[in-house]
Structures are given as structure tokens and as C-alpha cells.
């Protein structure tokens, strides 16, 4: 397995006036080169925290991060700079993720100039036009302001902005959930094409399971700051082993199958298995002992004392 990004035992704790919030609990995740890894979970499960740690908007409290074979855990902002261009992110809301006071061309050119001070004007101009064409926009869009663009066009611009730096890994944080359904498919196909063309690796974060199953090669399911199940997409869909995965996928098709109750407060997580308060299959052991991630088959891991069998999956 050739991993591009490897996160080991990453923790993150936030201090709030009301107490400490454990957003990530010793989470480990590996992203393989060239794959699309889907990351699903309810809001509050720690997906965004994980994404922010990967792009280094925030630091982690403990653990180790290895990118492209190099340990980047303790790097200072200055040392991390050369990795900046390799790890990019596309945000959920294209209306807030692009500076409304700047022309598209300015923003694209700026990306290039930050990382290459000696780039000639002509070369910059050429690459700006090229990157706009790549995301399906006319190069004349460079002289427009974001306010003249539709949501779908803006998201294309946001993709162009992360792509122009020629990154290896792009974190897609719910990239289509703010868009119209009609535009959604276009953007998803664009992302697929771009991956093919540039050999990109995606971490695709979403709560829309249909979208994730369509896009992802592998899926990781998060609950309350830890990964509860991970495996190839077919395995997760066909042989889901964690009761939470089942509930999540059932809920997307059948509203009556929704989970009862809310995700527990991360300030006061339940003892034992984090899911035991809402689990339909819980037993006494679940509230005492926290299950570790263990392997069911090659590459399919689950954190559950009693993984679902053939019968229970239905």
C-alpha cells in the first residue's frame, strides 16, 4: 500500500468556557496515492477538524503526520510552506470561500506569485487561462468579480484556485452540498476528470452518502471524533459491519430508520463505545469497554465488539 498521507493517533482538544471538547480521539487515517477516500459522519463527528489539521489551519495535540514519506508533524509555518502547495482544499460554500473584492484573475495569479516570485507575467497569464479552461470556464472570466458568477461557476473557480498550484492532495470539504442538484453532477464529474488527468488524490468529505458512494474508492465513517469503520466502497455498502454505518446508510434511504436521539456532546462523551447510547445492538460490554479498530478482512476495519452479521445488515 503506497500511502500519500498517513495520520497516526491524532488528537485534538478544544478549550471552551464550558469545558474541554475532544474533537478527535487518537484517530488514525491513511490516504493512498491516487485514491478518493470518502469521509462521512454527522456534523460534530470531527470531519472538519480532521480536514483542518490536514491542511494545517490548526495544529494537532498529539500524533504523527507523514506526507509523501516525510514527517511533517512538528514543522513550523515557515518549514511547512513548501508543502502548502501540495495540500489544497475546496470549501463547501463557494460564496464565502472567494474574496468578493478581487477579480478571479488576480486571485489565480496571486497563487502562482506566492510560490514563485520570479514567474514572468506572460507565463502567469498563460497558466491562469489554462487553469480556467481546465475547470470548464472561459479565460475571459479572469477579469470578472465573483459577484458576477453563479454558485456552480464559483465552485469551478474555487477548484481552479486549488488546482493551479499543482497539488498532490486536495481535501474536498462538502464541495457540492451548497450547490443545486443540477450543478452537482457537473462538478462531481469535473472532479473525476481532473483526478484522472493530474493523478490527484482526494479526501472527499460529505454527509451525502449517495455522492460518497459514487465518488469514493474507499469510505471512512466517523463518529464522535474517531473512525468507526473503514473499507473499500463495495465492502462498506455490501458488508457494513458497524451498527452506525448501517444506521447512516439506512437513514439516507428511509426516513423512519433515522437514528434516535442526537450525537452525544463531545464535552461529555459516553463511556465505553462512543456509539453505545444510540446503538440498537448494544450489550453491557459496550458501555464498559471501548472497542479498538480491528480488521475484518484485508483493508476492512471496524471498531465494534459485535460487528453486524449477514442477517442484521438488512
Amino acid at each position: 500500500m503506497d500511502s500519500l498521507l498517513k495520520m497516526e493517533n491524532i488528537s485534538k482538544e478544544y478549550k471552551t468556557p464550558y469545558g474541554r471538547i475532544k474533537a478527535l480521539r487518537e484517530t488514525s487515517l491513511e490516504i493512498e496515492r491516487g485514491e478518493i477516500l470518502g469521509l462521512v459522519g454527522e456534523s460534530g463527528s470531527g470531519k472538519s477538524t480532521l480536514a483542518n489539521i490536514i491542511v494545517r489551519l490548526i495544529g494537532s495535540d498529539g500524533g504523527r503526520i507523514v506526507f509523501n514519506g516525510e514527517d511533517i508533524t512538528g514543522l513550523s509555518e515557515r518549514e511547512f510552506r513548501k508543502y502548502r502547495r501540495e495540500i489544497q482544499m475546496v470549501f463547501q460554500d463557494p460564496y464565502s470561500s472567494i474574496n468578493p473584492r478581487k477579480k478571479i484573475g488576480y486571485l489565480l495569479r496571486e497563487c502562482l506569485k506566492i510560490h514563485d516570485k520570479h514567474l514572468s507575467e506572460d507565463e502567469a497569464e498563460r497558466r491562469v487561462a489554462e487553469s480556467l479552461e481546465e475547470v470548464g470556464l472561459d479565460p475571459s472570466y479572469a477579469s470578472r468579480y465573483p459577484s458576477n458568477l453563479s454558485g456552480g461557476q464559483r465552485q469551478r473557480v474555487a477548484i481552479a484556485l486549488s488546482l493551479i498550484l499543482r497539488p498532490r492532495l486536495i481535501v474536498l470539504d462538502e464541495p457540492v452540498s451548497a450547490l443545486d442538484v443540477s450543478v452537482e453532477a457537473q462538478i462531481l464529474n469535473l472532479l473525476m476528470d481532473l483526478r484522472e488527468k493530474h493523478g490527484l488524490t482526494y479526501l472527499f468529505i460529505s454527509h451525502d452518502l449517495n455522492v460518497v458512494s459514487y465518488m469514493a474508492d474507499r469510505i471512512a465513517v466517523m463518529y464522535l471524533g474517531s473512525i468507526v469503520e473503514i473499507g473499500r466502497t463495495e465492502e462498506i455498502l455490501g458488508e457494513m459491519a458497524h451498527p452506525y454505518t448501517k444506521a447512516l446508510f439506512k437513514a439516507s434511504r428511509d426516513i423512519s430508520a433515522t437514528l434516535s436521539g442526537e450525537i452525544p456532546s463531545p464535552m461529555n462523551p459516553p463511556s465505553g463505545c462512543p456509539f453505545n447510547t444510540r446503538c440498537a445492538y448494544r450489550s453491557e460490554r459496550c458501555s464498559l469497554e471501548c472497542p479498538e479498530l480491528r480488521s475484518l478482512s484485508e483493508g476492512h476495519l471496524v471498531a465494534c465488539h459485535y460487528p453486524l452479521g449477514e442477517e442484521e445488515r438488512k
Binding site: R84, F91, S97, K102, S162
Partner: protein, 270 residues
């Protein structure tokens, strides 16, 4: 720009200000009479063809003195606003963007400055450093800082965690670039509106200080000085006291209207 001109307050403000500007501009090249030339044979004369706005107690031409008085007002307003804006922005941006202990300390100082009524603060500074044009300008500049610092700080706090700023950080942009090339354009309209309102307060403060004898000194043609001299002749020559009063009022109203108009229009954009 067309958007702004549709706003009534902005439009009226601009019209008044244009007239004032015209007078200011002409005064650079030409005033009907020398502003300090006395002509005791023609003192306290009514407005006439000879002296359009009459003469004062020394027979000096009031129109000429008002024209030069506007110049002083603008000069002081401009320096106060420009330095207040620059320093306030510098303080507010760093404080708001980085936050933390530094922000707390800086804001304590700014709050302390704000707790003093502006004119009192200016009087205190003048009492220490003495009066005159330069000291008046310095005092009014210091007085203008807190307002800009607060506006800038709240703007930077609003934007520092916004998605586009995060996106810039991920792309590798440094703090300086984010602060002044990306956030600043987004809070500029608010700062400009504040600048206009501050201009009005600076003009008022200068007139007030000069009236009290703490600002400009006679025979300099400051509107405040004219007002204080004219009040002794209020009954004999009411136009004399009225003219500097109306001029000050118009200047202040113009800048306030423009500031309000700017705020209304840019507020509606969000």
C-alpha cells in the same frame, strides 16, 4: 459611484462640499482682499457690493477670511483623519487579526483614550505641548485614532476566520498579504464612512479649540477665532457672527451626510 449618488444624504453632502471646495480652491490663488489687511474706516460694514459678506471690527473682509478659514479647517481635518486612519488601521488590524493578549492590552489603551471626551483630550495635549497649528493637528490626530482602531479591529475580527481568508492561508499567503490585500478592501467602505464622520468632528473640534483660544491664534483666519471675535458684536453686526457659524455648520453637515450616505449604501450591499 452612481449607486452612491442615488442616495439623497450623500448627494446633498457632496453638493455642499463641492461649493466649499470651490471656495477653498479659489482661496489658494485669489482672495478679494488680504485676510489681515485692516481698514478701520470701514469696520463692521453690512454686506455690500464692495464687501460681499461685510467687514469685521478691524474692517477686514469677512469673505476673504472665511475662505482662508475653510482652508485651515480642511488642513486640520485632513491631517487628523489621515493620521488617525493610518495609525488606527495599523493598531486595529494587528489587534483584531492576531487577537489574544496583545489585543486585550491594546484595547485597554484605546478604551482609556475613548473614555476622555475628544475635546478634553485635545485640551490636555495642548496644555502640555502648547498651542499653534502643529499642536492642534497632533492633538486632533490622537483624538481620531481610537475610532478608526475600533472599526478596523471589528472588521478584522469578522474576517479573520472567514472561508476566503482560510483559503488564502492554505494557498500559502502570509499574514501581511491577507491583512492588507484581502481583508482591507472588504472593510474599506466602512473606514471611508468613518473618515467622513471623523472629518466632521475634527473640523468641529478645531473650531471649538480656536474659539476657546486653545487652537489657532489671531490673526490667523480660523472659523473658531472669527466666531469668538464676532460674538461681541452680535447685536450691532449679526451677519458677522452668522457667517462663520453657518460655514462651520455646513462643513460639518456635509461630512456627516456623506458619511451617513456611505454607510447606508455599503450597509445595503451586505
Amino acid at each position: 459611484m452612481a449607486r452612491y449618488l442615488k442616495n439623497l444624504s450623500f448627494l446633498i453632502g457632496v453638493v455642499i462640499l463641492s461649493i466649499m471646495f470651490a471656495m477653498l480652491f479659489i482661496s489658494f490663488f485669489h482672495t478679494p482682499y488680504d485676510v489681515t489687511a485692516m481698514d478701520l474706516a470701514h469696520k463692521l460694514e453690512r454686506p455690500s457690493g464692495e464687501h460681499l459678506l461685510g467687514t469685521d471690527q478691524f474692517g477686514r473682509d469677512i469673505l476673504s477670511r472665511v475662505m482662508k478659514g475653510i482652508e485651515v479647517s480642511f488642513l486640520i481635518g485632513l491631517t487628523a483623519v489621515a493620521s488617525g486612519l493610518l495609525l488606527g488601521l495599523a493598531i486595529g488590524s494587528v489587534s483584531g487579526y492576531f487577537g489574544g493578549k496583545l489585543d486585550e492590552a491594546v484595547m485597554k489603551v484605546i478604551d482609556t483614550l475613548m473614555a476622555f471626551p475628544g475635546v478634553l483630550l485635545a485640551m490636555m495635549l495642548i496644555a502640555v505641548f502648547g498651542n499653534g497649528l502643529l499642536n492642534t493637528m497632533t492633538a486632533l490626530s490622537v483624538m481620531a485614532i481610537p475610532r478608526f482602531a475600533r472599526i478596523a479591529r471589528s472588521g478584522y475580527m469578522e474576517y479573520r476566520d472567514s472561508d476566503f481568508v482560510k483559503a488564502e492561508r492554505i494557498r500559502g499567503a502570509g499574514s501581511f498579504r491577507i491583512m492588507y490585500l484581502h481583508i482591507l478592501p472588504n472593510i474599506m467602505s466602512e473606514l471611508v464612512a468613518t473618515a467622513s464622520l471623523s472629518f466632521a468632528s475634527a473640523i468641529m473640534a478645531e473650531a471649538g479649540l480656536s474659539y476657546l483660544g486653545l487652537g489657532m491664534q489671531p490673526p490667523s483666519p480660523s472659523l473658531g477665532i472669527m466666531l469668538s471675535e464676532a460674538q461681541d458684536y452680535m447685536l450691532r453686526a449679526p451677519w458677522y457672527v452668522l457667517i462663520p457659524t453657518v460655514t462651520i455648520a455646513l462643513l460639518v453637515i456635509a461630512f456627516n451626510l456623506i458619511g451617513d450616505g456611505l454607510q447606508e449604501v455599503s450597509g445595503g450591499e451586505r
